[in-house]
Symmetry: none
Subunit: 217 residues, 4 copies
C-alpha cells in the first residue's frame, strides 16, 4: 500500500531522485535564461518547489549545480544523436538526417543554445572538468567519418572532408541561427523566430552542406 517512489499527492517528496531532478530542471531553466552570474539560486529553489538549502545539500554550490546542468544537457544531446542510428543509413541520407536533427534539436531545446553560449563566456571551465563528454563525442565523430568515407567510395560525395570540420560547419550553421536570432532580428527588422523563417533556414542549411559535399573541389 505504501510506496516510496510513486507520489500521488506530489508533495513533500522525500524522494531523493525526484527532488534532485526537479532542482536540475529548474536550474536549467534559470541558467539558460540568465547565465551563471545572472541566475538566482533563490529563483531556482522556488521554481523547483524546494528549500534553498537543498540545492547545497545535493549539489554543493551554485557553480557545481551549473556544471551538472551543463553535463546533463550534453548527455541529452549525445543520447539523441546515438538514437539516430546513422550507421545503418546510406551516406547521403545519414548526413542529411544529421543536419536536420542538429537544427531541430535546437528548436526543441532552446535552453541548450543559451547554456552553451554562457559556458563559452566562462571559457568552458566547467565542462573541461568532465571526463565523460569527450568519450561521448568520439562515437559521433566515428559515425560521421564513416558516412563520409562510404559516400566518397560510392561516389555520392566528391570531397574528402575531415569529419570534425564538417561537424563544426554543421553546428555553426544550425547553432548561430538560434543563438543570434535576437540580434539578427533586430538588425534585419524581421522575425527570424517565426516558423516560416525557421523552415526556410533549415532547407538552406541542408542545401549548403550537401551542395558543398557534392561538388568537386
Amino acid at each position: 500500500m505504501k510506496s516510496t517512489t510513486s507520489n500521488p499527492a506530489g508533495k513533500a517528496t522525500r524522494d531523493a531522485k525526484r527532488t534532485r531532478s526537479k532542482i536540475l530542471a529548474a536550474a536549467r531553466e534559470e541558467f539558460s535564461r540568465h547565465g551563471l552570474s545572472g541566475a538566482r539560486v533563490g529563483a531556482i529553489a522556488k521554481n523547483a518547489g524546494v528549500n534553498k538549502q537543498l540545492l547545497y545539500y545535493y549539489f554543493g554550490d551554485k557553480e557545481k549545480l551549473y556544471a551538472s546542468v551543463l553535463e546533463q544537457a550534453y548527455e541529452e544531446l549525445r543520447a539523441a544523436e546515438q538514437a539516430l542510428n546513422l550507421d545503418n543509413l546510406p551516406p547521403k541520407k545519414a548526413i542529411e538526417k544529421f543536419i536536420k536533427f542538429s537544427f531541430d534539436f535546437l528548436v526543441e531545446h532552446k535552453y541548450f543554445v543559451a547554456l552553451l553560449n554562457d559556458e563559452n563566456l566562462h571559457e568552458a571551465r566547467h565542462i573541461k572538468k568532465s571526463t565523460r563528454l569527450p568519450l561521448l563525442h568520439d562515437r559521433l565523430r566515428t559515425t560521421i567519418g564513416g558516412a563520409l568515407e562510404r559516400g566518397l567510395t560510392s561516389g555520392v560525395f566528391k570531397r574528402s572532408v575531415d569529419p570534425a570540420d564538417l561537424y563544426i560547419s554543421i553546428a555553426s550553421l544550425c547553432f548561430f541561427y538560434h543563438s543570434n536570432a535576437h540580434t539578427m532580428s533586430a538588425i534585419f527588422q524581421r522575425d527570424l523566430a517565426s516558423d516560416a523563417e525557421i523552415s526556410k533556414r533549415r532547407t538552406h542549411i541542408v542545401d549548403m552542406v550537401m551542395g558543398f559535399l557534392a561538388l568537386e573541389s
Copy 2:
C-alpha cells in the same frame, strides 16, 4: 568668461572626451569578459582609472553603459565593412573578400563575439533601442545583394540566393567558430584557437560558401 568648448588651459574639454573613451574601453573589456550581470561597475572604474561616480555622471547607469558599448562595437564593424569597398570588385572577389573579412574581424576583435552572445542572452533588448543600426545594415545588404546579382548575370554564380540568407550563413560559419571555440576545444580535445586551426578553418569556410554559390541547384 567660461567656455565649454575651449578654455585657456585647453585641457578640461579634451580630458572629458578622453575620460569618456577610457571608460568605454574598460567597460567593453569587462562586459565582454563577464557579461552584463557578471561585469562589475567597480572593476570598470578601476581599470579606467577613474572614480566610480564618474561612470554614472557620463553614462547614467550600468545598463546604459552596456548599451553604449554595444552600439560602439557594432559601429566599428559596420565602418570596417564599408571600408571594404566591395561595390567596385568583381562578384566572386567581393564575396570572398567579405567572407575573409568577416572571419578575420572576429579574430582581431574577440570582444565582439562575447558581447553579442551576451546581448542575445538578453534577447537583444539593448540594441533593439538603437535606430541607427538597421540603417547601417541596409547598406551592407545592398552591397552583397549587388554582388550576388552581378555574379548570377555573369554566370559565375549558379544560384539565386537571398542576400540576407547568405549573410546569415557566412556570419554563422565565422561567428560560431570563435564563439564556441572553448567548448569545442574541450570536447574535441584539440586547441581550436591555435593559428594553424584558425587558418585551416578560414579556408574551409571560403570553400564551403563559394562552392555552394558555384553549384547548380
Copy 3:
C-alpha cells in the same frame, strides 16, 4: 525476552555507550579547537563517525553537548587531583606535588585550557548549572588547607594563607602560560611551547610559590 543490559548478541547496549563516548570525544576536540560558537555540529558528527541526528538523540542540542563536555573535563581533573593522595604527604611535598601536577595536567590535557577560556567568555553559564562541581572542589580545598596548616604548625611555612587564594595563584601561574602561549610567543618572538621553555617555566613556578610560602611576611 528483551533486555537492555544484556542481550543475545551482546552488542546494542555496548554500542550505545561507545557511541556516546565517541561523540563526547569528538565534541571535546571540536569545542576546544573552535569554542562554542565556532564549533560545528556537523564536524562533531563527522569526526565521531555518526549521524548528526544522533547527537540530538543523545544530548538534546549543541549547548547541552557543550555542557556535558565541560562537566566531563572538570571531573577528569578532579579525579586526577584526588588520585594524588596529598593528604598523606608532608606539607612541602604536598604543595610541590600539587603545583607540578597542576602544570603537567595542562600540558597533557591541552583541550582543558581552551574549554575553560571559552566557558569564561560565556560567563560560566554552563557549569553554573552543575551541582556536582562545587562538591568536588570542596574536597580539594580541604586537602590544600590541611597541608598549609600542617606546614605552618611544623614551621616549614611562614605565612598563613587562605587555601583558596593559594589555589588561585597556582592555577594562575600554570594556566596562563598554556592559555596565552600563542600570543606571548608572538610578542616575545620566542616559542613558549618548546619543551625547554615549558620545563624552565615549571621550575620557575615552583620556586615562586614555595619561596612565597617560606618567606616571613
Copy 4:
C-alpha cells in the same frame, strides 16, 4: 561657520576618522563579548550607528576588523605602560607600580582579557601578522630588565630573574584572575568580581611577586 570636523548635531557624520573609530569601538565591544565566531557583523554596525557595508568599506572583512581591534587594544596597553615612566623610579617601586598597573589595567579594560583569550583560541594568527607589536614589547622588557638589575646591584632584590619570566608571572597572576573569574566564582561559590575580593587579590599578587624577588634562592 561651516566645519568638517566638529559635528554639533552628531548625525550622518561623513567624517571618515570619527566613523572609523565608532566602528572600532563597537567592534571591540562585540568581539570581546562573543569572540570572533560569536560576534555579529550586523550587531557591530548597529551599535556603531552605521551601515553594515561601511565596515567592509573601512576594514575589508570581519576578520580584518577583528585584527584591527586587537592591534588597537595592544597599543593602548603598551602606551599606558610607557606612560608609567618606570625608568625613573627606584627598583622596588618600579616593579610594584608595574604589578599594580597590570592588575588595574585589566580591571578597567575588561574587554582586553576576553579579546586575548579569543585570539589565543585562534592561535594568535591575527596578531602574528602585526610587525609593530614585538617592537612595542621590546621597550617594556628593557624597562623591567633595568629595574631588576638595579635592584640586584643595590641589594633590594636577591634573585637574578629573566625579565621575560618575571613579566609572564606577573601577567599570569593578574590576567588569570580576571580571565577565569566566572568559572572560579562558580566553583568556589564566591563572587570573585566583588570589590573586596579584587582588592584582596591585588595585595596578594604584590606580596607574592615581591616576596619572591626579595628571597634568596
